[in-house]
Symmetry: C2
DNA sequence: GTCTATACTTGGATAGAC
DNA sequence: GTCTATCCAAGTATAGAC
């Protein structure tokens, strides 16, 4: 159900559910449930119900599979993000959307996959550059969203969108990790709550920012 | 409680450089250089020049050693932090101190140890609560610092120090991970640069905040 | 009481079977 | 062309030597 439905580009027949996709799905699932350290070939294979060695045949190594898994979940998630964020025009709406997205992500575990691999790249520096490539679209996305929200506002000069975008990505990442630490979401929820209280105030102070729903 | 006294409370004589301390130091060093995944008993032992099994004799398990290592580096670091931050009274000074501290930490690798273990706790949930205990002092420290900086300011009502503290810790953590990803500090440096540009402005807008050294 | 040799388990990866 | 049985390295932890 969650499949991109493209033709199998690697060995495999082009019908039904290519093994390759099954492996990627199993890897995502395993990363969510067991983390990076628990995402061994054997565990992934157990999750997906196939033989461990299939991973090496199709991907060459665990790292390559995990990177592919991140790429897959990342692009799937990007679609949802875009859809939700495009709806939001005012700053309050944007904050609302961000909170909703974050909650969804936390529950579905998509951010976790990203956080796991970013954290893991400390131990495996050779993965760094490739993960970096997969993070970049997120920074770009954040920057574009911020640019739209601050368009015409004097704040854009004080807080350049690209720097803000970097900070937002870092903040999301840090929150994800801290949240999983004690399985307590209250800290993050409080932050979003605060942000949604503050957003209208800030919005009122920024005459240049788009305020679609404002009956002027 | 992890450890407190200088006297070896576990087996060991109380003279010179107890094995226990050598092991902790080796663990810290290994976490910095090889990350969590690379911090195996064998690797730590190789770093410290002792037999791997000593770890199990003195600490019982790798996890327990790693937690002890985090506790040690954390309390060492907390001292430096307090010393530097107590100097700062104005907001600009505080930002300056934060940037300096962050740079030191990045170079010495202390934050990395924290980030490694926090990330690792995703894979080993049983470590979560204990790491959480070790993170708490940092949130408290951040909160107290923020409280002092915002004392008497109306901003404190809009941005409660405890929520801000949580966000700051998350941001530091996220920045640390992103920085190590591509070994590029420019993003973070830009942020601190921006913060130090903004701090005086913000400070001027907040009449309640303490502004000790303002001779102009 | 302190430390080492060694057992046992799990993991990544390949050589060869269908 | 697709998948499985199997090998070897690395990991944790204990049973026993100094």
């Amino acid at each position: 159900m969650v499949k991109a439905g493209r033709k199998s580009r690697a060995p495999g027949r082009s019908g039904a559910a290519p093994t390759r996709d099954r492996i990627v799905d199993a890897a995502i699932e395993t990363l969510k449930s067991h983390g990076f350290a628990g995402a061994s070939a054997r565990e992934i294979a157990r999750t997906g119900g196939f033989h461990p060695a299939l991973i090496f045949y199709h991907f060459g190594s665990i790292s390559d599979l995990l990177l592919a898994a991140l790429g897959e979940t990342s692009s799937r998630r990007m679609e949802s993000y875009r859809a939700e964020v495009e709806q939001a025009r005012t700053l309050p709406e944007l904050v609302e959307a961000a909170a909703r997205i974050y909650r969804e992500d936390l529950e579905s575990g998509h951010i976790k996959v990203l956080a796991e691999l970013i954290a893991a790249s400390s131990s495996f520096p050779e993965m760094g550059p490739r993960i970096s490539e997969l993070v970049e679209p997120w920074e770009t996305f954040a920057r574009e969203t911020i640019e739209r929200a601050l368009a015409g506002s004097p704040l854009a000069a004080l807080l350049p969108p690209d720097e803000l975008a970097h900070a937002v990505v870092a903040l999301y990442l840090g929150m994800e990790l801290l949240t999983h630490l004690d399985r307590d979401r209250s800290g993050v929820q409080a932050l979003f709550q605060r942000a949604s209280t503050l957003a209208p105030v800030l919005s009122a102070l920024l005459p240049g920012a788009p305020e679609r729903g404002d009956p002027r």
